[in-house]
């Protein structure tokens, strides 16, 4: 405990040099800079989100259209397969009365819907692969990180460096042997194959980051629990895990984001059954140029689940590390 000369405890936020006009000014300046950064960095995101609701000419209009007539053309393009109507048939097709809402919108563009696209299935594959691999890598990561943090594991430094080094080889190269290996093991184009690969891919990160967090939790807490008659496992579960929850949440979010967005492995190790969304979004290329609004719509659908998870875990992410409060 620190020796405090005043009766009111001085914390970072109420330090004596942190009051007065100058402090208020720098505080306002800091907030302004952060808000400005957030606004600037969100412009591309805003642009992408709005593009999902724009018609084809509006996406590429200059001056940029901030206000526009929203359309769901992009989503229809994303969720369907279409062919270009031959010029003579366009008017004739538009006259038909049996067209549904989506078909009529596409008919205006001279396109005919031939069936659903695979976007929904790909998104579902992404959900399965990313969630399973994230849970697995965080689970294994927590266990390994705890053991590395608390015990004098023989060859600890080398083992930790080995774990780290598994992330250093460019994926492009590992892909060739893994491709051959997966064909032999019948893991090519399966959910399990991708889940295991992403787990391996994320483990190094999970172990290193979690070890960083668990290292910071004072050993005294566990030792006290052990003195109270807990077993090591009980102490781990009831003392260490709750304290490490911030680190676990942060690791979870990052592993999820990596697995969710992974492109190279998914492209080269899946074809039909297990293909995830990232390699399929760029293939939403329409007849006559890139369909920006369809790509934007696909990206939006792809972004929403991650935002929901991050938002749900925001308290853990933003609370800072809980032991900060305990170490005071």
């Amino acid at each position: 405990m620190a020796v405090s000369t005043t009766s009111v405890p001085i914390t970072y936020a109420t330090r004596v040099d942190k009051v007065g006009a100058r402090y208020q000014f720098t505080r306002a300046l800091r907030i302004a800079v952060v808000v400005l950064y957030a606004v600037i960095s969100l412009i591309p995101v805003f642009w992408m989100v709005t593009a999902a609701f724009k018609s084809r000419p509006d996406v590429v209009a200059i001056p940029p259209k901030v206000f526009f007539e929203p359309t769901i053309e992009g989503f229809i393009s994303l969720l369907t397969k279409r062919v270009l109507l031959p010029p003579g048939m366009i008017e004739e097709y538009k006259q038909r009365t049996d067209l549904n809402f989506a078909e009529r919108i596409m008919a205006e563009r001279g396109q005919r819907i031939t069936g659903p696209s695979q976007y929904g299935q790909r998104l579902l594959n992404s959900v399965i692969v990313a969630s399973a691999s994230t849970v697995l890598s965080v689970l294994l990561g927590v266990l390994a990180a705890y053991a590395f943090s608390r015990f004098n594991v023989p060859g600890k430094g080398d083992l930790l460096f080995f774990i780290l080094s598994t992330r250093m080889l460019p994926p492009v190269v590992v892909t060739i042997p893994i491709f051959l290996m997966y064909q032999q093991l019948r893991l090519y184009d399966t959910h399990l194959g991708l889940i295991l690969l992403y787990t391996v891919f994320n483990l190094s990160f999970a172990v290193w980051l979690l070890k960083g967090f668990i290292d910071e939790i004072p050993r005294e807490y566990e030792e006290a629990a052990l003195v109270d008659g807990y077993s090591r496992l009980q102490a781990f579960r009831k003392v260490v895990l709750p304290q490490a929850i911030t680190g676990i949440a942060a690791t979870f979010v990052f592993c999820l984001i990596f697995a969710w967005n992974e492109y190279a492995f998914a492209l080269m190790l899946t074809s039909e059954r297990a293909r995830t969304a990232p390699p399929s979004i760029p293939t939403v290329l329409g007849t006559g140029g890139i369909e920006w609004s369809a790509i934007a719509a696909g990206t939006l659908g792809f972004l929403i689940p991650v935002i929901i998870v991050t938002f749900a875990l925001r308290d853990y992410l933003l609370r800072g590390v809980t032991f900060g409060a305990l170490r005071k």
Binding site: V173, V227, P282, G298
Partner: protein
């Protein structure tokens, strides 16, 4: 500690695991998985790097040619040019991310109304897939209808710079996107480090009337350094391997002005299908990354030891 040991010993007598069993049980799954998924590909790639082989000709078995692939690569001046380019890219982009990310974390450290929302919003770029980001920034950088030039003051189409089309600008265009995307990652890790600094350090400094500079250099920076260095370490490794962003934005062009080593490697492996030679290049890259990471990890351990 002595007391703890007797206590744990007593606990073990009741159906509990010994510490050694826990170590093995907790670490083994990770190590086994990593060994299975890395050792085979690693050794197979090493073997292929000494051969003449192409994956698109599976009937032609790999032909052993010794060090020829390495010889060819190491005497090719273009390879060194791509390595230099990659080095410049890695140093610039990671340094900028560290400065921007750490700066943002310092500014966000004290909570204010809406700081949680701002932090979440700043994190959004990390959540988007690099490939999609590449595609989208291509649209944003487009000199005819992109908003980038419009926002920096060129309101007439095609009057501004062609960011991705000019050799002198293309690398910077990629760096801008990479910094935009990954600074929040550094920020988040630094933020959790900053919030963990115990207040009594500042209390003591305040009592001693230490200057803000002194507090920053002697308290804030050393305390955040471990997490900051982990962030930098991972960003460096990832930046060295940057490939999907470049493929989405420029494909290595114009000319070879953005031909980072990983992009070159991808082309050798999947466009020209010189599998043997690309495996050799991958090994050269691996050795360099390991060397650089080793230096990092050492300084990380040294800083950990001090604080």
């Amino acid at each position: 500690m002595q007391l703890t040991r007797t206590q744990t010993a007593r606990a073990h007598s009741r159906r509990s695991l010994t510490d050694v069993q826990i170590q093995v049980l907790f670490i083994a799954p990770t190590i086994i998985l990593l060994v299975l998924w890395n050792i085979f590909p690693l050794f197979y790639s090493l073997y292929l790097s000494f051969t003449e082989f192409s994956v698109i000709k599976p009937d032609v078995p790999p032909a052993w040619i010794g060090l020829q692939n390495y010889n060819k690569l190491l005497s090719d001046p273009r390879i060194w040019q791509y390595f230099t380019l990659t080095g410049r890219y890695v140093v610039t982009t990671v340094a900028l991310q560290a400065i921007v990310g750490f700066g943002l974390a310092l500014f966000l450290r004290e909570r204010f109304k809406g700081s949680g929302l701002i932090t979440t919003l700043i994190l959004i770029p990390i959540m988007m897939s690099p490939v999609v980001i590449g595609l989208f920034w291509k649209l944003i950088y487009n000199p005819a209808f992109g908003i980038f030039n419009y926002l920096i003051g060129y309101s007439v189409p095609n009057s501004g710079p062609d960011w991705l089309g000019e050799a002198s600008r293309a690398l910077w265009a990629i760096i801008i996107v990479d910094v935009w995307m990954w600074s929040p990652f550094v920020m988040l890790l630094c933020l959790s480090g900053l919030k963990a600094i115990p207040d009594y350090l500042y209390e003591a400094a305040a009592i001693d009337r230490a200057s803000p500079w002194f507090q920053f250099w002697r308290i804030t920076l050393p305390q955040v350094a471990p997490l900051l260095l982990i962030a930098i370490l991972f960003r460096t490794i990832e930046a060295f391997k940057t490939f999907d962003l470049v493929m989405g934005l420029t494909g290595g062009g114009p000319g070879d002005s953005t031909e980072l080593i990983a992009v070159h490697l991808y082309r050798a492996a999947f466009t020209r299908f010189t599998t043997g030679e690309s495996s050799a290049l991958a090994y050269i890259i691996l050795v360099i990354v390991i060397a650089v990471s080793n230096l990092y990890v050492r300084s990380l351990n040294r800083i950990r030891g001090e604080s």
